[in-house]
Symmetry: C2
Subunit: 318 residues, 2 copies
């Protein structure tokens, strides 16, 4: 039992989704992060990080300062668990990409440890604990990456804490394109650009679009989804962080995307498409546009909206 | 033909609906306004108001300053119609009640004149022309009363102009209670209380709730609808206009309402209930609370969400 190792995977997620700043997100099939967890005897602290792979040595190894470490500690505390746990994090997601990397690590970590403990904690508990991790990683606790990283699908976070998470329907064919340009944006810096207030007129337009997007997902109305994929709040304030953003968006829509905007706080961009064929064309057009506008070699992912979020991928004796 | 008189009815409407400031509205079965229209020969202006009944002489008789008159003129212009038209307005709605009175007059007027001309103008044209009337009556052109007054049902106005109006599904049983206290609030004054900016955190909560409400209507999830019926934008700023607002809201919810907030800019209050029985109890509780907190004799209406909006109720030779 003490030698058991449980490994969980949690996917990349696209948050904000144009009109849903801080409240909408969806999961990709891949890439994602993996976290392995084992029991550990020995001195404090209760959570220990054995290793982090794939981060180029940039993430904190101290559990109390690491997204996944904090999330695991929160889970142990929530469950009244006294045993010690050690984790190994394998980053499949690029750092500071806007693809929910800290959420994926936190989600995989709580899922792995929940399975290691055979605790079967309710999803609200997993979200709340992963959110504690996000708070360290991203500087604020909104659950629009955490919720889809844990639950999968296309989710609306009505309230982060206590979690009130709504799984939205995903129309057949809906396909995401994500392009990660070879630049980095710190989430905290992107957030600082927003300020604390917004124009009422901009906010009204945002909630009209969000309501329309939810309706469009229910009805499978791609034309309405396309009209609703407009961001009047974050994108205009963050556009300066992405050279050529407008040209890249135009390339996506001209190639057949329903809409295109920043993934989270960027620099990754996402587009939604009505089918896989359109997504292939949009992926090509966006990649080309990113090369031309930003330079470097972008990474491009094409994925359906993944119905499954964080999940155990292996459980074995080490 | 010259003596034909067409009369149309348009219902009272509840706009904003807690979390949908400027974008959500629904129609009641009653009360409403009626407008009769006939052709008229003679000198300019092209639109003439024969009479207004039920307004206590308070509404402008000059067509160019009257909501319904302006709406009719806009329709004649849009249709390239040269003939003159005269209208009679019968106000079933109290003035400045927050129940979409100017929208009901404008909607009934364009519907009556459209039928008089046998023009069958598309709904977008009727909305656009009625909106011209609203602009005179309410000082701004948002379509959250006009759209349900014309289309009926529970609508989301994604964009007022050009009109992008979404008919939301209405779960079986959903019933509205509306209580009109014996006080008046000028829409312009209520709007001035809002200011031009809002806190980003408040706006995020509003659009999370709006998305949740749309989802709840699709799923018939009354518990979610109840959680979503929260207004972080307008109600807090306008609460001072309604003595005892919090006590009235509490009375509604304690009697079984899913939620309760201002109808439009008030002073009317609406509640949504899961069935007619709850609505009866909530109507009683709200009426009692309004008497206690505000005094005077409120008018109380209980209605399903009316599937039909503005409609011709008679067409005959005079």
């Amino acid at each position: 039992m003490a030698d058991r190792v449980v490994t969980a995977f949690a996917p990349a997620t696209v948050s904000n989704v144009a009109c849903g700043f801080d409240v909408l997100g969806f999961a990709l099939e891949a890439p994602g992060d993996e976290v392995s967890a084992r029991f550990r005897e020995g001195p404090d602290p209760q959570v220990h990080i054995d290793d982090i792979v794939g981060d180029g040595g940039r993430l904190p190894r101290e559990a109390a300062r690491n997204t996944a470490g904090v999330a695991v500690q929160a889970l142990l505390t929530a469950l009244g668990e006294r045993r010690g746990v050690a984790i190994t994090i394998r980053k499949g997601l690029p750092l500071s990409s806007g693809l929910g990397g800290s959420a994926a690590s936190a989600a995989a970590a709580v899922k792995a440890v929940d399975a290691l403990l055979d605790a079967r904690a309710p999803v609200e508990t997993l979200v709340a604990c992963a959110l504690e991790g996000e708070r360290i990683g991203a500087g604020s606790a909104h659950a629009d990456n955490i919720a889809p990283a844990i639950c999968g699908g296309f989710v609306l976070v009505r309230r982060a804490s206590p979690a009130d998470i709504i799984s939205l329907p995903v129309p057949a064919g809906l396909t995401a394109v994500v392009v990660h340009p070879d630049i980095e944006i710190e989430t905290a810096r992107a957030r600082a650009l927003l300020g604390d207030t917004v124009r009422l007129a901009d906010a009204i337009r945002q909630w009209a679009n969000l309501g329309a997007l939810v309706h469009g997902l229910h009805r499978g109305d791609f034309a309405l989804i396309a009209r609703a994929l407009e961001d009047t709040i974050a994108e205009p304030r963050r556009a300066s962080l992405i050279p050529g953003l407008m040209a890249i968006k135009r390339a996506a829509v001209e190639a057949g995307a329903l809409g295109c905007s920043l993934s989270g706080s960027g620099p990754s961009l996402f587009a939604l498409c009505g089918d896989a064929k359109a997504a292939a064309a949009v992926g090509g057009a966006m990649t080309k546009a990113v090369r031309a506008e930003i330079g470097g070699e972008p990474q491009t992912y094409i994925s359906s909206i993944a119905p499954q979020g964080a999940r155990v991928v292996s459980a074995c004796a080490s």
